[in-house]
Amino acid sequence: MTLTLTEDQLMFRDAAKRFAAERAPVSQLRKLRDELDPVGFDRALWKEMAEMGWAGVLVPEEYGGVGFGFVGAGLLATEIGRNLSASPLLSSAVLGVTALLRGGTPAQKETLLPAIAGGDLLVAFATDEAVRHAPYDISTRCTGKYKLSGRKLHVLDGHVADRLIVTARTSGDTCSRDGISLFLVDPKASGVTITRSSMVDSRNSAVVELRDVVVSDADVIGTFDKGAIVLDAVLDAGRAVLAAELLGVAEEAFERTLNYLREREQFGVKIGSFQALQHRAAHLFCEIELVRSVVLRTLQALDAQEPTASSLVCLAKAKASDVARIATNEAVQMHGGIGMTDEFDIGFFMKRARAAAETFGDQYYHTDRFAQLAGY
């Protein structure tokens, strides 16, 4: 497979680029934040995005999606990153759909996938329990057949989801990869409490508390006790798509900074003529080029279900998190005082870069995981 986009992919990307820039730019996120919008994104807009194939980007055509795979999802995420577009793409269309595709029963798929692809149903994935990502550190209990009790942190779009997919420990010790199972949970079910958190990136995150929440056999996703296979797939999908989003964040922050460097004058010259800033910008350019290669290769590997895809996911998530951090920090520093004001947009990129990096493992987590997977 070559590391270039096909004609179809280029067209899909270009349409997404126009749509995101016109309909879901940074100003929309600012408005949602300032108005303390109770949803956190525009439901009508998500319906439009669904019509463009966003909600069903991973969903096969037989279930009403467009089947553009992870490469397609990544292209959308990069444009989302460039515009900081608020949408449930990651939660519902990536995490939710991947869980159903990898572990869903035929009945679950037939009921849920078309509704998700149509933008009518939102799914949230509730797994993390520690403040720092530790995927198998799950102690949400499952008693009897079945009552779930536990507390899930950082559940993306949890407060507006129509369905939750919840990981729970059905056997084994806390932190063991064995003994994890996944369940579909109705957020309106008795015993579910969902509290939205106000986040630095103005995106949606919630705490989900479960107290003896009753679920049935029909709600199990994947093999009972062996849910980690699905969990891993969902997390890797989320990480890769987040890496693609972080690429967009880095690119946009960098381009805005370059424009500023070309225009802003100090000491009678354009500040972009200062060699120290030029060299930092040139180095950053190289780093972003590396992220571009890594993200595309990783998404291709996920689509092809290559056995070493997880190593690439580590590389992509670590590198994209780190480079987006550098790009947004350099952006604020090079913009100087104006970059520190809320009035100016650049700070939004730094906030999103940090939040996206923390979600499902940051550069530290994935650097160590990369070494582990390589056997050292």
């Binding site: 720092r132 942190l153 950082h154 200062f274 120290a276 920090n329 939040a355 923390e358 530290y364 987590y365």
Partner: protein, 398 residues
């Protein structure tokens, strides 16, 4: 007062007296850790004391001149020697006494007034600073000027016995809370841009002054933009000579740099301790090895920097030249502070991402965002590196 070093016995006696006085006069409440920004006493005409204890503590300390221990007694200071002042700091630290007064009048304007002010100016302003009666703000930066401070455009036109000031300043810390401003203004447009700048002091209640708060990415609004529309300033409010204000400004910037750089050594919970809390130990080691490595690197650099602050202080005491170090401390200290905040966010994971309103307890993200200004305010990191390259390393100009 005394320029000579104190004898060991005299110092010990001073230490005993100081300890006894603090014990007797520092309210118990003022020995508790600072919890929020209202625990910091800024003084000024409009300051609302959070408690009686806070008001009493300021008053008692001001009476002894110990809000500014090393200033001369005639100007409201304590007249202490360097050694005595150190003993006072040590005893206050041991007893965990809060600082009775925080102010730009003390940390910034005061030293400039002592060096450049005439008797009339020193007598008028210093005691009121020492007693916390007047809160000062700084009018340096201008919209669009940024690092190129000397290109400032706010002008003060000569109208015989007074100046008329027109223009605008930005990044005025607490400009909306200050009583007086010390302000750089252009009094000449001929010659080098640095040579037409003067240093004015004036009351913020003078007609024609207005302020607008600037909201930051951290959610805080500690700065204002300040507008001057035909503001009349008497000529006796000129500090130093006409058109020689740049010299005072540079002197003052050095003080500001030391203050901001010093933030790198603030006493906060070590990142490693927070990491242990959030991540836990496995076989005695912090469970995330790559993160642990960067935490160790940070804590080593922070310790090395703290030792360097100590060394610079010791060398200054020994009479060695250390002026060149101020840009280094500002640059390295603020970059360290940013590293600390980045790591604090990393170890706090999703908890650190929470971003409440200004009154909430969840302030990690706001603090993290706040640190980003450290390497911009008071001369950017780039400006400090330029200064080091030119003034310390004597590298040729571009």
């Amino acid at each position: 007062m005394s320029a000579q070093p104190n004898s060991e016995e005299a110092l010990e006696a001073f230490r005993r007296d100081t300890r006894a006085w603090l014990e007797a006069n520092c309210p118990q409440e003022m020995r508790e850790p600072v919890v929020d920004e209202y625990d910091i006493c800024w003084g000024g005409r409009h300051f609302k004391f959070k408690s009686d204890a806070q008001r009493v503590w300021l008053q008692k300390m001001a009476e002894r001149g110990w809000t500014v221990p090393e200033w001369p007694k005639q100007y409201g200071g304590g007249g202490l020697s360097k050694d005595e002042a150190r003993v006072l700091r040590e005893e206050m630290a041991a007893m965990k006494c809060r600082s009775p007064l925080t102010s730009f009048g003390i940390s910034m304007l005061g030293p400039a007034l002592l060096k450049f002010g005439n008797e009339q100016q020193k007598g008028e302003h210093l005691p009121r600073i020492a007693r916390g009666e007047i809160r000062w703000c700084q009018g340096y930066s201008e919209p669009g000027a940024g690092s190129d401070l000397a290109s400032l455009k706010t002008r003060a036109d000569d109208h015989g016995d007074h100046f008329v000031v027109n223009g605008s300043k930005i990044w005025t810390s607490y400009g909306d809370k200050a009583d007086w401003i010390f302000c750089l203004v252009r009094t000449s447009t001929t010659g080098k841009k640095q040579e037409g700048i003067s240093f004015l002091l004036f009351d913020m209640e003078t007609p024609g002054i207005s302020t607008r708060p600037i909201r930051l990415i951290s959610g805080y609004s500690p700065f204002t933009q300040t507008f001057f529309d035909n503001v009349k300033v008497p000529k006796q409010n000129l500090l130093g000579e006409l058109n020689k204000g740049w010299t005072i400004a540079k002197y003052l910037l050095t003080h500001e740099r030391n203050m901001i750089g010093g933030m790198g050594t603030q006493r906060v919970t070590p990142v490693s301790q927070l990491a242990i809390k959030h991540i836990g130990l496995a076989s005695g080691r912090l469970a995330e090895p790559a993160l642990r490595t960067d935490i160790a690197r940070f804590e080593m650099d922070a310790m090395a920097f703290a030792l360097t602050m100590n060394r610079v202080t010791d060398e200054a005491k020994a009479g060695n030249e250390t002026g060149a170090m101020s840009s280094m401390l500002k640059y390295y200290g603020t970059e360290l502070n940013k590293r600390r905040a980045e790591l604090t966010m990393s170890v706090s994971g999703s908890e650190g991402l929470k971003f409440g309103d200004a009154n909430s307890e969840e302030q990690l993200a706001a603090m993290w965002l706040r640190t980003k200004a450290n390497s911009i305010e008071g001369g950017t990191s780039e400006i400090q590196l330029n200064i080091i390259a030119k003034n310390v390393l004597r590298l040729p100009g571009a």
